[in-house]
Amino acid sequence: MIDKTVATVPDAIADINDGATVMIGGFGSAGMPSELIDALIGQGARELTIVNNNAGNGDAGLALLLKARRVRKIICSFPRQTDSWHFDALYRAGEIELELVPQGNLAERIRAAGAGIGAFYTPTGYGTLLAQGKETREIDGRQYVLEHPIHADFALIKALAGDRWGNLVYRKTARNFGPIMATAARCTIAQVQRIVALGVLDPEAVVTPGIFVRRVVCVPAGAAGAVHEAAA
């Protein structure tokens, strides 16, 4: 029998190794798998490469992973925010490597990894600093930059509900990077607000088919979260 559910959050992330590339879902705090990140901080893996849209906000989640100096490199589109002080300090001290990627190229590179595409020509970034040193090509009169997939060892994502096959549905704009990161990692770990019986999720509305998910762990919504669920 297939059962991808895992009992505890620490169990779910126990095997993340030093030096791993870890994708972390979320756009700001929407869709950020906070409990998985907190467990990763506790678990202690070091020298990580992190893929996320941002570089941490305030004093929570990814920002604390950075503060704990577990991250060697971050691949993201928008590191600079009013509350990205932990990243800012490490960056200015030369203690973290930054690969800055336009957001659409970041998304497409993650999708390409999951889809087995070797590389692709994108118009985004052509003629800018972020395409310096990259191969370019004119196709049908338009200029493109060659971009390569971003593969990961692990993806940590957050979804609304999941089942024992790993099927997932998301909630509103918290969907963002979750579905594509799930396809691009060797081992995708999803925290969900609830685990439902097989067959409960509408097959027409499953966003991430279970084939892309290795582990599902239940993290019920807190007080704030419970409000959303009532509203959903």
């Binding site: 957001q103 600093l129 972020l130």
Partner: protein
Amino acid sequence: MNRYSRDQMAARVAQDIQDGACVNLGIGLPTLVANHLPKDREIILHTENGLLGMGPAPAPGAEDPDLINASKQPVTELPGASFFHHADSFAMMRGGHLDCCVLGAFQVSVDGDLANWHTGAPDAIPAVGGAMDLALGAKSVYVMMEHLTKGGDSKIVSQCSYPVTALRCVSRIYTDLAVLEVTPQGLRAVDIVDGLSLPELARLSGVAISG
């Protein structure tokens, strides 16, 4: 010198957005445009973090942390809305499906090159977000900005001195002094604020502008 207020600029942009258009309003000044969309037009707002059919800010207390815009502010969804993931959202942009986007800028060149993501200052931490995708993806790219820097320099330039976001992408420029169209023959003034002459506008801008 007269100037268009920020709300007047926003209203002027809104007037140029057609009924039925799918539109992305960028961070900052462009968000004001939402308040001025003509009531008799149905315009669908896109936010690059995965929502088409975005509605206005929620009532206080009704914020939902899972329903935000690209600036990470709480928003609402309208009837007819749809959610999608980031690759689909940026495919929508890059694939040329948006009718229009409205962006802020540091500089726009007479050729329509846009600089709005990075000052290039040696100690600045660069951040690009979706700016490059928006700039080249939408069918029409409208820029909203002050015409002059605080130091009095023109933000309309013959060539961008700041790092560019995308080349030859801007269709129209809406400033506190004028509305300019980017044409293959250079900039053309569509509107000028009352009391400012075309030659004076061109002199302030430091570039040629036709009437």
